[in-house]
Amino acid sequence: MKILVPIAKVPDTTSKIAFTDNNTKFSPDGVTFIMNPTDEWYALVRAIELKEKQGGEVVVIHVGLADSEQIIRKALAIGADRAVRVDADPTDAYFVAAQIANHAKSENYDLIIAGKETIDYNSYEVGGMVAEMLDLPCVALVQKLEIENGVATITREIEGGTETVEIKLPLVICAQKELAEARIPNMKGIMGARTKPLEVVTADATEKLTVITGYHLPEKAKECKYVSPDNVGELVRLLHEEAKVV
């Protein structure tokens, strides 16, 4: 089975968020960048598990500039077989999806496992867009994925629970928590990653559909109103009369 895993690069959640150029650009100063957690912990690991069980190949693809090499090597260290980097600044989901779809068209993947969302733009876009570009079925918010005889059995999140569906391969999956247990690269993996193939390709000319024109930080920190534990009734009164939420 041949599996493609698109991986994104994001600021670590604990990073301080700041903007420059009159609040039109994200400032990378002092920010630690990591592999998008959903991609690393769930999408990539499940792909590797399936390969370990059934044989095949796991390829990671990343749309980004040369400074992403570290996260790509980490994916190889965790167990991907080879990597492709599309050399372009990923500023628009449609653009990113088009690069991934174009790559996928040139290789016959049985399965594409993306993450559900990146933790910076929280957009849940790329997986679905790739599926539509390739005219493939897609299931998002996937918590379980088993494959037997070319048929995937998938459990996905729905309102108030989960739903289980069966779909024939090929297809696109957007992974979320519970799909796999995160793996930490071991020494052998890290050594091996250095020599695994990382192909750098130029981006296809694709238009960008959206532009971010400005960022806004929350106006000011909230002012917490304290109530004494001996006067809980006062809190209930405030919630009823002042906040009007109960």
Partner: protein
């Protein structure tokens, strides 16, 4: 021209998140001086659909085809984009809920329409382009997305605006999108619903607790408080990781994102990854023994105190309030 909203019906009722999407669509249509049209796929009663008139919907395109009773992203994408063409829609609105999160990006590609995922406000139009605000960096900031294509897709965050109901009934019209059986690729084997509980993603009131409760045996009062309020229960990842609570209750960066009117956090420290899932809540109440707990910085109301003492008192006081109103 028109604005088309995608509406889902579950167990005979229009989903709350869909009512919000339809209302949002009507507001956009009003701003553009055009009609608000809705598309519904699968079984639904005409009476229920007509109620969409109260949120400004003029016409409902209803495809009763039983093949739509289960969600299939590929088939639904084809059907909704056909509805957009039939209605002559320039803007398509969906809820940024479980199905919308997949349907909207697919539609964006199919319609070659710029898309904003998780809008928190109405768009501002400036000629042919529109600007829409969405939250980014897990709620730590927001960004203005400019949509420059002729067609636009907007998925609106649940609980971002409260629909104002008026009078009126929507006209319901049969709609038969051209789909082959081969367009339906998934076979639903079953669903596992947590019955008797309020789905966390839709809840307006949430009572949440963390490691400060010391053990799973201490959740009784939390559940009772939720029951008294008619709230859903949630928890921090620290407690679902050790199986004190089920995984579907975990909120935060790696769990669910909730935006209730009231979020009560008991014995949760307020780590940045937890806040990422709850900082869109309208009002946050924090109960914690540690006055330095970071959660107080994100709170509207706080009690520095022991959960074991404060929660029973809260139950008692809320019971009194309910009895009085």
């Amino acid at each position: 021209m028109a604005v088309l909203s995608f509406v889902e019906v579950s167990q005979g009722k229009i989903k709350k998140a869909s009512v919000e999407a339809a209302y949002y669509g009507s507001k956009v249509a009003e701003g553009l001086g055009t009609d608000s049209v809705v598309v519904v796929l699968g079984a639904a009663s005409a009476d229920e659909l007509a109620t969409l008139g109260t949120v400004g919907v003029k016409k409902v395109l209803h495809a009763a085809d039983a093949r739509f009773n289960n969600f299939d992203s590929k088939a639904f994408t084809k059907a909704v984009s056909e509805a957009a063409n039939v209605a002559g829609a320039t803007v398509v609105v969906l809820s940024f809920n479980q199905n919308g999160k997949l349907l909207a990006p697919r539609l964006s590609v199919r319609l070659k329409a710029a898309y904003v995922p998780g809008a928190v406000e109405l768009p501002e139009f400036n000629g042919a382009s529109a600007t829409v605000k969405k939250n980014v960096f897990s709620g730590k900031a927001s960004a203005s997305y400019q949509l420059n294509t002729e067609k636009k897709v907007i998925a609106v965050n649940p609980n971002s605006l409260s629909p104002v109901r008026g009078a009126g009934a929507a006209e319901v019209e049969a709609f038969a999108p051209t789909l082959a059986d081969a367009d339906f690729s998934s076979v639903v084997k079953g669903a596992d619903l947590i019955v008797g509980e309020i789905p966390l993603s839709e809840a307006e009131l949430v009572v949440s607790a963390g490691r400060g409760l010391k053990g799973p045996e201490n959740w009784g009062p939390i559940e009772e408080l939720a029951k008294v309020l008619g709230a859903a229960t949630a928890c921090s990842r620290a407690v679902s990781d050790v199986d004190w609570r089920p995984h579907h209750e975990h909120v935060g960066q790696t769990g669910l994102t909730v935006r209730p009117n009231l979020y009560i956090a008991v014995g949760i420290s307020g780590a940045i990854q937890h806040l990422a899932g709850v900082n869109g809540s309208k009002v946050i109440v924090v109960v914690n023994t540690d006055p330095e707990a970071p959660f107080f910085k994100a709170a509207d109301y706080g009690i520095v105190g022991d959960a074991a003492v404060v929660v029973p008192k809260l139950i008692e006081e809320f019971k009194k309030l309910k009895a009085a109103h």
